[in-house]
C-alpha cells in the first residue's frame, strides 16, 4: 500500500498519478477468522484496528452490509469534545479526543482533526449552574475546560447575539481542544490500516444470522455464505436490537432518527463549534463554508434515516435568534441517521449473554467523537475476554443493578 506523504504527492505528480494504489483491498470472505466484527462504521473499524495494533490479533474480518462508513459515521455533525460530567464518560471521551490529536499521524491518513474549540452556551440560569458544575468535575477528571463569560463568548464567536431576547447568552462551557474532524476520513483511514495489517474489510456482506453451540458463538450466516469465528463483536449502532435478536438476547435500546442539515456555503464567519442545548441546536462551519447544523431526535422508533421536518424547523427557528446572520441562508441538504438510545443516554460496551460475543452500541446522538476511545476499549475487551478499565462501567448489567451513567440529565448534552 502506498504510504501517503509530501514526497509521494511530488513523486506521483511526475508520473501522472499512475502509482496510487487502492486504499484497501476488497477480498472474498475466508471460511474462518479469529475475530469477526459486524459493522464497518467508525466504531467497528477502530475496534479492529486496535485489536491489531494493541493486541496483535490480525486474523480479523469486518463485515459491512452497505458501504464503509455509510451509516452514522457519514451522517453526523463531526463534533469532538469530552466535557462530560460523569467520570466514566469523561474518561472514555477524553481518551478518544486525545487519540484524535495524532490520529492522522497514527493512521498515515489525514482525518483533518481541527481542535478549533467547542463552546456550549448557557442560556438559562440552570445551564449556568450545570456547566459550572461540569467545569469543576472536568478539572478533577483532568479534562481541560473552563466556564467563560458572555464577553468572551462574543470574542470567540462574534456572530452570536448574546443579548437575547428570549435566549440571552449567560456564559459558556469552553473546551479549547475540542473541535471537528473529517468524518468519512476517519472510517477510510481506519479501513486502510486494517487492510494493511491483513484484515479483511468486506462490504456488501449482510449478516443474516448468528450461529452458536452450547451458548458460545460459532460464527455468522451472511448473504455471502457462512463464516466461522472464535469471537464476535457487534458494532452496528442503530441496528443493534436487530442483530442482538439474532444472537438471542435483548437490549435496553430504542432506535430513533436524528437529523442534521447544512446551509449553502458562505464566507468564513465562525471558527469554533457552538452548541446551544436549550434550543436543541448546534452549529459549526465546514471547510467548504456550509453552516453545519444539528437538530433534535424524533421521539418515536424509526429506521427510515429521514426524520420529521418539524424538528428541523424548530432547530432553525431557535438558532435564528442566537445567530441572526443565518436567517436568510438557504438550506442545502438535510439527512438523518438512526441512533441507538439507551435509558441513561450512555453507551454499552459489554460482554453479552452469548459466550465470546461482545457488543458496542448505545452511543445515541454522540458517537462520532468517541470512535478512537470506543475502539480502544472494545478491542481490549474482545482481546482479553473481559472489560478493561475504560469499558468496565459501561456493562449491560448496569441497567439491572441501577448503576446508571446518567448523562442525559446531568450534562445537558443535546439529545
Amino acid at each position: 500500500m502506498t504510504r501517503y506523504s509530501a514526497f509521494a504527492v511530488a513523486r506521483e505528480a511526475f508520473r501522472d498519478h499512475q502509482g496510487w494504489t487502492r486504499a484497501w483491498a476488497s477480498p472474498e470472505p475466508k471460511r474462518k477468522y479469529d475475530v469477526i466484527i459486524i459493522g464497518a462504521g467508525g466504531h467497528g473499524l477502530a475496534t479492529a484496528y486496535y485489536l491489531g495494533k494493541n493486541h496483535g490479533i490480525r486474523n480479523v474480518a469486518i463485515l459491512e452490509k452497505g458501504w464503509l462508513g455509510g451509516g452514522n459515521t457519514g451522517r453526523n455533525t463531526t463534533i469532538i469534545r469530552s466535557n462530560y460530567l460523569q467520570d466514566p464518560s469523561a474518561a472514555i471521551y477524553e481518551k478518544a479526543r486525545s487519540l484524535y490529536e495524532d490520529l492522522s499521524q497514527d493512521l498515515n491518513y489525514n482525518v483533518m482533526f481541527s481542535p478549533r474549540g467547542v463552546m456550549m452556551l448557557a442560556q438559562t440560569e440552570h445551564e449556568v449552574r450545570g456547566y459550572k458544575r461540569t467545569a469543576y468535575a472536568n478539572a478533577l477528571q483532568g479534562v481541560k475546560t473552563e466556564f467563560i463569560s458572555p464577553a468572551r463568548v462574543k470574542e470567540f464567536c462574534p456572530i452570536i447575539e448574546i443579548r437575547g431576547p428570549r435566549y440571552p447568552v449567560l456564559g459558556a462551557l469552553w473546551q479549547a481542544r475540542g473541535g471537528t474532524a473529517r468524518h468519512d476520513a476517519v472510517a477510510w483511514g481506519y479501513a486502510r490500516k486494517c487492510s494493511e495489517m491483513g484484515m479483511d474489510v468486506i462490504q456488501k456482506c449482510e449478516v443474516t444470522g448468528i450461529r452458536s453451540d452450547g451458548g458460545v458463538v460459532k460464527g455468522v450466516t451472511t448473504n455471502r455464505g457462512d463464516i466461522d469465528c472464535d469471537k464476535l463483536g457487534i458494532v452496528v449502532a442503530g441496528h443493534s436490537g436487530h442483530v442482538a435478536d439474532m444472537a438471542g438476547f435483548r437490549l435496553p435500546i430504542e432506535s430513533v432518527a436524528l437529523q442534521a442539515l447544512v446551509s449553502e456555503p458562505i464566507k468564513p464567519c465562525m471558527d469554533v463549534v457552538v452548541m446551544a442545548n436549550t434550543v436543541h441546536g448546534y452549529m459549526s462551519q465546514s471547510d467548504k463554508g456550509e453552516m453545519v447544523i444539528g437538530g433534535g431526535a424524533d421521539g418515536y422508533n424509526n429506521y427510515t434515516q429521514r426524520g420529521s421536518f418539524h424538528h428541523i424547523e424548530e432547530t432553525v427557528r431557535a438558532l435564528n435568534e442566537t445567530f441572526p446572520i443565518i436567517s436568510r441562508l438557504k438550506m442545502l441538504r438535510m439527512w438523518g441517521g438512526i441512533v441507538d438510545m439507551t435509558g441513561d443516554r450512555s453507551p454499552i460496551i459489554s460482554p453479552t449473554p452469548l459466550g465470546n460475543c461482545f457488543i458496542n452500541c448505545g452511543w445515541g446522538t454522540g458517537g462520532f467523537k468517541a470512535i478512537p476511545g470506543s475502539g480502544w476499549a472494545t478491542a481490549e475487551m474482545i482481546a482479553k475476554g473481559a472489560s478493561g478499565p475504560l469499558a468496565a462501567e459501561f456493562g449491560l448489567d448496569r441497567f439491572r443493578e441501577g448503576r446508571f451513567i446518567d448523562e442525559s440529565v446531568a450534562a445537558g448534552v443535546a439529545h
Binding site: 436490537g241 435483548r250 435496553p252 430504542e254 421521539g299 422508533n301 429506521y303 418539524h310 441497567f399 439491572r400
Partner: protein
C-alpha cells in the same frame, strides 16, 4: 409528516399535535417483582424493524392516550385504537397480517 387518527376525536392528527409515549402494552412491575421483571419493564424494548405498537397522546387536542400500529421501516400506519386494552384488537392484527404476512411482535402475530 406522520399522521395518526385519534380514535376519540375521530380526526387525522399531524405529529406536531401528538406526543409520542413509547412502546405499547408494557406490563408494569413494581416493588416485590424480580430484578429481571423490573429491568424488563423499565429498560428492555422490542425496538423492531417493521411492525411496532406504541402509545401516543393527543396532547394538543383531547388530551387522551391511545395506541397506534406502525411500520418502523416504511412509516406506514396500520391503525390506531383506544388505550383501554392490554393487546392489539383482533381486527387490526388481521389487517396487519394481510399487509405483512408472517409478522410478529412479542407474543402477538
Amino acid at each position: 409528516m406522520l399522521i395518526l387518527d385519534c380514535p376519540y376525536c375521530g380526526i387525522a392528527c399531524d405529529e406536531t399535535e401528538l406526543s409520542p409515549g413509547g412502546e405499547a402494552h408494557l406490563t408494569r412491575f413494581g416493588p416485590g417483582s424480580s430484578e429481571d421483571e423490573f429491568e424488563g419493564y423499565l429498560f428492555m424494548r422490542e425496538n423492531p424493524r417493521g411492525v411496532h405498537f406504541e402509545r401516543w397522546r393527543h396532547a394538543h387536542g383531547c388530551g387522551k392516550w391511545f395506541h397506534a400500529a406502525r411500520d418502523t421501516m416504511t412509516m406506514e400506519v396500520f391503525g390506531t385504537y383506544p388505550a383501554q386494552t392490554t393487546e392489539p384488537p383482533a381486527e387490526l392484527r388481521k389487517t396487519i397480517s394481510e399487509k405483512r404476512p408472517g409478522w410478529s411482535w412479542r407474543d402477538f402475530s
